[in-house]
Point group: C2
Amino acid sequence: MTTTSDSTGEAPTPRQQAVLDAVLGLMVESGDQLTMDAVARRASCSKETLYKWFGDRDGLLAATVQWQASKVRARRYDRQHLDVAALRDSLRGFAAAWLTTISSPTSIALNRLAIAHAASSGSNLGRLVLANGRFAIGERLKPVLEEGREAGLLDFDDAETAFRTFFGLVGRDVQIRLLLGDRLPLPPAEIAQDAERAIDQFLALHGAAKPKPQA
Amino acid sequence: MTTTSDSTGEAPTPRQQAVLDAVLGLMVESGDQLTMDAVARRASCSKETLYKWFGDRDGLLAATVQWQASKVRARRYDRQHLDVAALRDSLRGFAAAWLTTISSPTSIALNRLAIAHAASSGSNLGRLVLANGRFAIGERLKPVLEEGREAGLLDFDDAETAFRTFFGLVGRDVQIRLLLGDRLPLPPAEIAQDAERAIDQFLALHGAAKPKPQA
DNA sequence: AGCGACCCGTAACGTACGGTACGGTTCGCG
DNA sequence: CGCGAACCGTACCGTACGTTACGGGTCGCT
């Protein structure tokens, strides 16, 4: 039975964090040979300790996913004045952050692992990755969209649907291509450019023609 | 050494097709336990035959990907009269077909396998899936887009970029969610609706304001 | 100093699976 | 009929890996 880093668990100790970082390192370097032996060797700990701390292999992987998620979580986009320029900045920030995330080696390795795991039957790895990726950013972006709507800057019926459009315009084919091993260099300059284009398109679809139509 | 169904290979014999269908069936039912033993049992053939025909496990998987691709490939969208209604129909057909494909159990299983494989180093599985999925549809759609532009119905600079926008608007978060195990029922009615919405959005972004501006 | 908790390193066990070998059967052909 | 090619079913081998067990070492507490 796991003692720490359970699915609802508390924060890992620094030593445990070092172990989880070792897992992340191994995943990125060579996603396949992620064996308990390799983790123990890399983290300079015994396998017995791994099993005491994390229960079994799946527990270790789950803890790793949550550890990585806790590292990314997330600068607040505090609601500023919210004119159209501020809204653009906010959306552009989200888009660039998302592209940076999904193109990072860590995210690629983690998603590959979770997807491979989802092929087997029961496993919350996929659910964990979804909750901390796709759905987390959705819940953080939707309030921004709704504030934009209240300010008369955006026009849409359903925030979820609008977010999915945003998601598609930003991500396009990037994630699936990277997951399938396509070389797709995404330097910061191109990320900025892609984010800009995506926001232009999103505002073309959902920007309100007239600010505050009923004001 | 593989004798048949090489990476450039000729069509598999009917018996080989039955074997590859057995692989597809196993993949869909329980993607993990896709062992050579299980394939042989399901296909009622000996492992020795599998190795003679396909070389090794990777050869079998590659042949399976190509077999599936050959089954999907692809009704022609012959260039019809090409007014705006015909263009809409054509795009809507592409969108619905793509959504149907990526939400099919076979595609999900195949992509999971290829993604897991891409975590290991050398492997053309990911490349194969990309070539027969994302890039195949791109090459088939771009001529339609360009005809639409020539007819003054569409406005864009780069067909590749326009296609990626199309791809994002159609696919959104569907594929990644399905790959990660999210339940996401996508009945034909919803596919049709999603395709319609995606085409509306695409035309809002790239529809030419005035047909044949220089005519 | 003595004791217990914690942990490292390594060895050991069981199993699953990719790959190979072999006997037996069917089928086409001279 | 006689023969060889193709193939099925099964047994077998080697290895990799998850998991457990054990010996020894370090640290904190009394």
